[in-house]
């Protein structure tokens, strides 16, 4: 069964680093130099270490960020929905320029990558509260109210969940009504091995996109002798275009919590942590409330659900603006109060994870699914989907379509069907699983979405993000946006990703300017492959994916971007640009 | 109709230069310019770098005379760690001198045999195909072998002390970081692998004799070609003798009167200014007390031989006396005599190298000395091409904050322009047809100064000097002072 720890385990002080930084950031608008000394002393580390943590996370700033800190989303979806106009309007209305605060220190304007509101673009966070479906008049209105002293909280939006589709015949797995404790009550009869068997039968796999068999992960953790153990929920939904976890946490917090408790029971863990991305601060209350409710019902804490000897508790740890912290081991580092740099595969998290102790990390959707599967039983679950890929999947659809939002589909649905359901508008280029996934052209619309991953099999495995672009969108613009994103989010610890993303971006510049030739295209492919094969974590491994795939699938388009006069010997060189600086000295 | 003659690039020199000659409607020379077209920006980008890496970095100013820059920078950096030239250990001082003489030997040999000899051997009207070292090797194999071997000898000396022939490392702040072994010294003395130092001296002597005969045969042409008055600048030792590594600065005018009286090199800023022209990246240094128009000086062998009272080695001294005996003048202002003067210096260097090679101090073990750090260092040395100035300033943390380089060839900027003008006026002007041979003479004039044009384009950086500004026409527009 489970634990038997006499003494309560205390997490080391440094694990509170991000929380302390958030306190300072939120109350003062930035981190003071004095704060750094204070924190260094508090955690017994050198000041440069504290500075290292602060400088890593996007939302921790060393300079004032204004009374109202505005983070405007610059994802590609925002871009096609009018980001530029909103940017201009914000600058005009606030008097600040992006990257600075205005003269009075009232407004700070900053850009930020996807904040999980792709179905409501253009969107922004003001003091970490959501403001969605922006247009110029709305922006003017908001700024006016803020100038009058309104708090961001009081005038923010409550983003709708936009659940557009569930399998007909009430076959939804995720959105069926869920009573807290309904699965915990089953645990009394179940054994950890039994739960693992159920999950194995259900073929549930990690819904963060890696699709690692969930039963395997929990099993590996279960057999670890070291104690204590941890259950961590990866709620760092950072892949642009993904917002399914946002909706789950808004609506189905209970099944998330229940799923974590089941995991704790199975592997023998006492502690659960939800790592919630900083962009979802506005959801924290809801989760806090849900956890409180579970406590009050005796479903969390000592002897959960009246199971003697099984204690489990959950706390929430806020992230601070870093896509790479969605990577398992980077997340663990962040939990430990450090920079979110992914670890090597020297040990896997199930063996040595959080604080070098056995840890299971799973996505929000995975925990929710686990709870639902145990509730309905694997056999029922297997009735959904297709053989080899049972069950349903949440897809977050956005872009050029009339009905952006959440689609719970049975595995096996074709791209064409999904495009029809969301009323896609002349789709041409579709990005599946976000920038780190793959791009498909409309010619591939007959492909199915499933977990089946065999050579020669043409199915697509989608992690959640599904971005649709019509024929009028510039493909290179999309790819450049992705490349910028990876460059911004790379953690910097390994050479191929840190330097590679920058190098690839330079190549894209050449392509954009019409200076590139076929050799450049070949080089992008070969260099992207090197990044894929050698990077330390998934970010570097997948950063060049879409680019490489797009160059094949949309080869005709890329050809139009090449230097038509390339003779194989003379590279195109912009002499005017190169001599521009010197020409300023012309008398 | 008026036209512009362009000679581009000037060949058989180091670096990039271009000559333009403007003719009016009648074919008379209106103007001529020797444009230096390179700009690399050493003085700016050296800032921010640590002083202990500087000698190795700045020697890459030039591939023919890296040693000059290495040693000048080393002298300046020595001062920054509190060591003046007299404070160096004997071993360090002598090793540096050996390297210096080796490189002057090599550089002069290179210039004479590889670059200038075609002009001397084949005459000003020789066809293009002949004007190169390959033709010399074919026509006069013996001479070519001598020249190549002499250069090789100098390069091998450099390699023995610095580890590499080009861009080696010998000097570190306050001294040197290696000595030379007995085997390496014997290599130059025993003649087994390469002709020994005595042979080098004999060959140098032979070349000096050759030049004397050459001048006897072509007296009028060589006496008159590009002869013009100018100052001469160089270094002398305490007794007024020729000094190439460390001494005092002396300048004389075209008649031999002293214009700069054996001043310490540390005071160079008080005496020199540099002017800027619109049409060249290289600046124009001159002595402040005389002024822009007449205050510029020639540097290099011609100047050094002119202003020294004697040469401290016997054979070279004899050669010097014969040289002045030949001209009968106190000071020699004829451009093409540079070659002869250069060969006298070759002989001098060979003699100096011999005495150093036989000096046991070379193998000593006192290599580096330390003093009290300073924030400023100045190193002035006589490079093969003339007086070379390196001046660095650092902050307390060791970062270079300011750098000033006056490279030898910069001093010769006015001289070369004047020489070009002379040829333009006397050979090209109003001649109707301009032949290739005439244009060749322009280059022959420039080449006599053995210009190192890549080096010379360092004319940037903060200078605590007075600067005067001239417009395109050479009219003084303004002058400013900054200390």
């Amino acid at each position: 069964m489970t634990n038997g720890i006499e003494k309560k385990f205390k997490e080391p002080d440094q694990t509170q680093m991000l929380n302390r930084l958030w306190e300072l950031q939120k109350s003062n608008g930035y981190i003071h130099d004095d704060n750094i000394k204070e924190l260094a002393n508090a955690f017994n580390v050198s000041e440069v270490e504290v500075e290292g943590v602060i400088s890593f996370y996007h939302f921790f700033q060393r300079n004032p960020t204004g009374k109202y800190t505005i983070y405007l989303n610059n994802s590609i979806i925002a871009d096609i929905k009018g980001f530029e106009r909103i940017k201009e309007t914000l600058e005009r209305e606030t008097g600040a320029t992006f990257g600075t605060i205005d003269r009075t220190g009232t407004f700070g304007l900053f850009l930020t990558p996807c904040i999980g509101l792709s179905d409501h673009e253009p969107s922004a966070l003001i003091n970490f509260y959501p403001f969605i479906n922006l247009n110029t008049s709305k922006v003017k209105d908001i700024i006016a109210k803020l100038k009058n002293g309104a708090s961001a909280e009081s005038i923010c939006d409550a983003p709708a969940d936009n659940i557009r589709y569930t399998p007909p015949g009430n076959k939804t797995v995720f959105f069926k009504k869920f009573t807290p404790g309904s699965v915990i009550s089953k645990l009394v009869q179940a054994t950890p091995l039994g739960i693992i068997e159920e999950l194995k039968k259900s073929e549930l796999a990690g819904r963060g996109g890696a699709y690692f068999p969930t039963w395997k992960k929990w099993n590996s953790a279960m057999v670890q002798p070291a104690l204590p153990k941890f259950v961590v929920c990866n709620a760092d939904e950072g892949e642009p275009g993904t917002f399914k976890d946002r909706v789950l946490m808004n609506r189905e917090a209970n099944s998330l919590i229940e799923g974590m408790i089941i995991c704790g029971y199975t592997i023998g863990a006492e502690y659960g942590i939800i790592y919630l991305r900083g962009e979802y601060w506005w959801l924290k209350n809801k989760l806090d409330e849900a956890i409180k409710e579970y406590h009050s019902k005796g479903l969390l804490g000592e002897d959960c659900g009246n199971i003697k000897g099984f204690s489990f508790d959950i706390r929430i740890q806020m992230g601070a603006g870093s896509y790479v912290c969605g990577e398992e081991t980077a997340l663990l580092e962040s939990l430990e109060g450090k920079r979110g740099e992914p670890r090597t595969k020297w040990f896997f998290p199930v063996e040595k994870g959080y604080l070098q102790l056995p840890t299971v990390i799973n996505n929000v959707e995975t925990f929710c699914a686990a709870a639902k599967i145990i509730e309905m039983g694997a056999e029922e679950y297997l009735k959904l989907g297709i053989p080899g890929s049972p069950g349903t999947k949440l897809i977050s659809v956005s872009g050029d379509c009339q009905l952006p939002g959440i689609y719970e589909i049975e595995w096996g649905m074709t791209i064409e069907e999904l495009l029809g359901l969301c009323k896609a508008d002349d789709p041409y280029y579709i990005q599946v699983s976000g920038p780190s996934g793959e791009c498909i052209s409309i010619n591939e619309k007959s492909r199915r979405m499933s977990m089946i991953d065999l050579p020669g099999q043409k199915d697509i495995r989608c992690g959640g993000s599904f971005m649709i672009f019509n024929k009028h969108r510039d493909i290179l613009k999309i790819l450049v946006n992705f490349s910028e994103f990876f460059k911004h989010e790379s953690c910097g610890i390994c050479t191929p990703c840190r330097a590679g993303n920058f190098i690839i971006q330079r190549k894209l510049d050449r392509l954009n300017n019409g200076f590139a030739n076929e050799t450049d295209l070949d080089e992008i492919k070969s260099w992207g492959t090197i990044m894929k094969n050698t990077s330390r974590c998934g970010l570097g491994k997948t950063a060049a994916n879409s680019l490489i795939i797009a160059m094949d699938k949309f080869h005709d388009y890329f050809k139009t971007k090449l230097d038509k006069n390339y003779d194989g010997l003379n590279l195109k060189f912009d002499m005017d640009a190169a001599t521009k600086d010197y020409e300023e000295y012309k008398i | 109709m008026s036209r512009k003659i362009i000679i581009d690039p000037v060949t058989r020199v180091e670096g990039h230069g271009r000559v333009t000659i403007h003719l009016d409607e009648e074919g008379k020379v209106k103007d001529s310019f020797f444009h230096i077209v390179e700009f690399r920006g050493f003085e700016r980008f050296v800032q921010g770098h640590p002083y202990w890496e500087t000698p190795v970095l700045v020697q890459r100013l030039c591939g023919i005379c890296p040693v000059s820059h290495h040693l000048a920078a080393a002298k300046a950096i020595d001062q920054i760690v509190g060591i003046d030239p007299k404070d160096l250990s004997p071993t360090a001082s002598k090793l540096r001198r050996l390297m210096h003489y080796g490189q002057i030997f090599q550089s002069h040999a290179l210039h004479f045999f590889y670059l200038a000899s075609p002009d001397l051997l084949f005459g000003v009207d020789a066809p293009v195909e002949k004007r190169n070292i390959v033709a010399v090797a074919v026509e006069n194999r013996e001479l070519a072998i001598k020249g190549i071997t002499m250069r090789k000898f100098g390069q091998e000396i450099i390699k023995a002390v610095a580890g590499k022939k080009i861009h080696g490392i010998l000097a570190v702040p306050g001294g040197v970081h290696k000595t030379i072994t007995k085997e390496e010294i014997d290599y130059f003395l025993d003649g087994k692998n390469i002709e020994n130092i005595d042979t080098m001296i004999a060959w140098s002597q032979a070349m000096v004799n050759f030049m004397k005969e050459y001048h006897e045969k072509n007296r009028k042409f060589l006496d008159e070609f590009a002869e013009f008055p100018s100052g001469h600048l160089g270094m002398v030792n305490d007794e007024g003798g020729l000094e190439l590594y460390d001494g005092k600065l002396r300048a004389i005018d075209s008649d031999g009167n002293i214009t700069l009286d054996d001043i310490s090199t540390d005071l160079y800023q008080d005496y020199f200014s540099e002017a800027v022209a619109q049409w060249s990246y290289m600046k124009f240094p001159y002595l402040k007390n005389i002024g822009r128009e007449k205050g510029w000086n020639r540097v290099g062998p011609l100047a050094r031989i002119n202003l020294c009272d004697f040469i401290p080695t016997p054979l070279a001294e004899k050669a010097r006396q014969e040289y002045f005996g030949f001209t009968g003048k106190k000071v020699n202002n004829s451009t093409l005599f540079s070659h002869w003067a250069r060969l006298i210096e070759v002989l001098h260097c060979a003699e100096e190298m011999k005495s150093l090679l036989n000096d046991p101090d070379l193998m000593g073990d006192d290599l580096v000395r330390k003093g009290v750090g300073r924030l400023k260092g100045i190193g002035i040395i006589e490079a093969p091409r003339g007086t070379l100035t390196h001046h660095y300033e650092v902050d307390e943390k060791g970062m270079i904050t300011r750098c000033n380089l006056i490279v030898s060839t910069t001093h010769n900027n006015d001289a070369m322009n004047t020489a070009v003008r002379w040829v333009a006026d006397n050979v090209i002007s109003s001649k109707g047809t301009i032949t290739d041979g005439m244009l060749n003479q322009v280059e022959i004039a420039i080449r006599a100064y053995d210009p190192c044009l890549s080096c010379a384009t360092q004319a940037i950086g903060k200078m605590p000097l007075k600067a005067e500004l001239y417009n395109y026409k050479g009219e003084l527009i303004d002058e400013r002072c900054k200390d």
Binding site: I493, T495 | T11, E38, G48, P118
Partner: protein, 420 residues
């Protein structure tokens, strides 16, 4: 003991031992920059030791040997990938070997030599980075840091505080120094910090080049049993006919040309086999005939350099970039992170006080225009071969030329293949 396979050969090894160590013990060379035996878990930051482990790409340094492990080290794709990573490291920083105290003792340079890297396939990025002089003894040269993480992990004060930590992230990552903690380091600890840094990024104030050429750690001998330089692949045997060569020094210091002349008396034999067309050594100012070979020294720093380079491409069958300056830009690129206007202003405007109206910067119809930065030759035209060095030794130059012109195979020695 367990059985493992490396490149098809069987080996016995201690179970759980690091694959890198096992390879080393069996004389199999796997290059790496950040692997240090005593650091556990291994740093795994450079990714240079990439191999195929049980069919999948993975670094050798984080692999613990177990029964049945199958490793591929030396297939062409892996070799090229490893080379690419070292090249990427060079291109990312501003690594100027000629001017660096660590040259000859530098791990990055060493890998470059072992892998025969004469040029990088990546354009150098020339990011503007500073040199941090603020600490007590340590001077941090950020241009050279390869972010191996070693100093972060190993340099710790006696009371357990870190002296170095990464700051920022992604391409902006750099190693921050804690001045307060650094001051607490003993002399020995500071010297150790300099020693453990694989490149010349951590320097000690005032400490200059320790050993002369030829006596430094990586100067003379390769660590590989069969060092095989494959950088210059010959064109194939051709009859020994007289060839035409053209040479030029663009923005170079002329040192490479001088090094060409260092064949000394060999020149007399050479001129039987080649004739020189346009070259600073001849008076041919323009191409008179098409040339078999063009040798380019120096990178491009003004518009005329670019035009000249293009002319060379037009008139020569094969182009060699000779020396660091033409290969990637070399020493003149030290100005690449400084705006041109700053260079010119400092030279001609700021050396006097005020009155900008009266100050001139040289600008003239007969002067070439200076480019905004220094460009490597392969950014302008296709370059066929690269010979590294500053300057390259005469031996490597002429061996390569003979290889290219007549297919003569002359292996280039490890001791000849140098960057400084």
């Amino acid at each position: 003991m367990v059985n493992i396979t490396i490149d098809g050969k069987n080996f016995l090894a201690e179970e759980g031992k690091n694959l890198m160590q096992v390879a080393k013990e069996n004389d199999i060379f796997i290059p790496s920059l950040c692997y240090y035996e005593h650091i556990e878990p291994p740093l795994g930051t450079c990714r240079v030791c990439i191999c195929k482990i049980n069919g999948r790409f993975g670094p050798a340094c984080t692999e613990k040997v177990k029964e049945g492990l199958t490793v591929e080290v030396n297939n062409p794709e892996l070799k090229d990938t490893r080379k690419a990573l070292v090249e990427m490291t060079f291109a990312e920083g501003n690594h100027l070997c000629p001017a660096c105290v660590k040259s000859g003792n530098c791990d990055l340079q060493h890998m470059g030599y072992e892998l025969g890297i004469s040029s990088t396939r990546f354009q150098h990025l020339f990011k503007d980075r500073t040199i941090d002089y603020k600490a007590n003894r340590i001077v941090m040269e950020h241009n050279r840091c390869i972010k191996c993480l070693r100093c972060v992990v190993e340099v710790v004060t006696d009371d357990g505080k870190k002296v170095f930590t990464y700051q920022n992230r992604g391409f902006e990552t750099y190693v921050g120094v804690d001045y307060e903690q650094e001051a607490k380091l003993t002399e020995e600890q500071a010297v150790n910090a300099m020693k453990i840094c694989p490149t010349g990024a951590i320097m000690l104030r005032g400490v200059s080049i320790p050993e002369p050429f030829g006596h430094r750690k990586f100067d003379m001998e390769s660590v590989q049993k069969n060092y095989n330089d494959e950088t210059i692949k010959p064109n194939g045997p051709t009859a020994i006919t007289k060839k035409r060569i053209a040479t030029i020094s663009l923005a170079g210091c002329f040192g490479c040309h001088m090094s060409m002349l260092d064949i000394d008396l060999g020149l007399l034999d050479l001129i039987e086999l080649v004739s020189f067309d346009k070259s600073p050594l001849t008076d041919k100012k323009n191409f008179t005939e098409r040339c078999d070979l063009g040798i380019i020294e120096g990178g491009c720093c003004n518009d005329e350099n670019v035009e000249t380079l293009k002319k060379f491409r037009e008139n020569c069958d094969v182009l060699i970039a000779l020396g660091e300056c033409s290969v990637w830009g070399g020493l003149p690129t030290l100005r690449n992170s400084i705006p041109l206007s700053e260079c010119l202003d400092e030279a001609y405007l700021n050396c006097v006080t005020n009155e900008p109206a009266n100050n001139i910067v040289p600008y003239h119809e007969d002067l070439p225009k200076i480019l905004d930065r220094v460009y490597a030759c392969n950014e302008i035209v296709k370059i066929d071969y690269y010979i590294p060095g500053c300057p390259p030794d005469a031996g490597i130059i002429w061996k390569s030329v003979k290889n290219i012109l007549w297919g003569e195979k002359n292996p280039i020695l490890y001791s000849e293949f140098k960057y400084d």
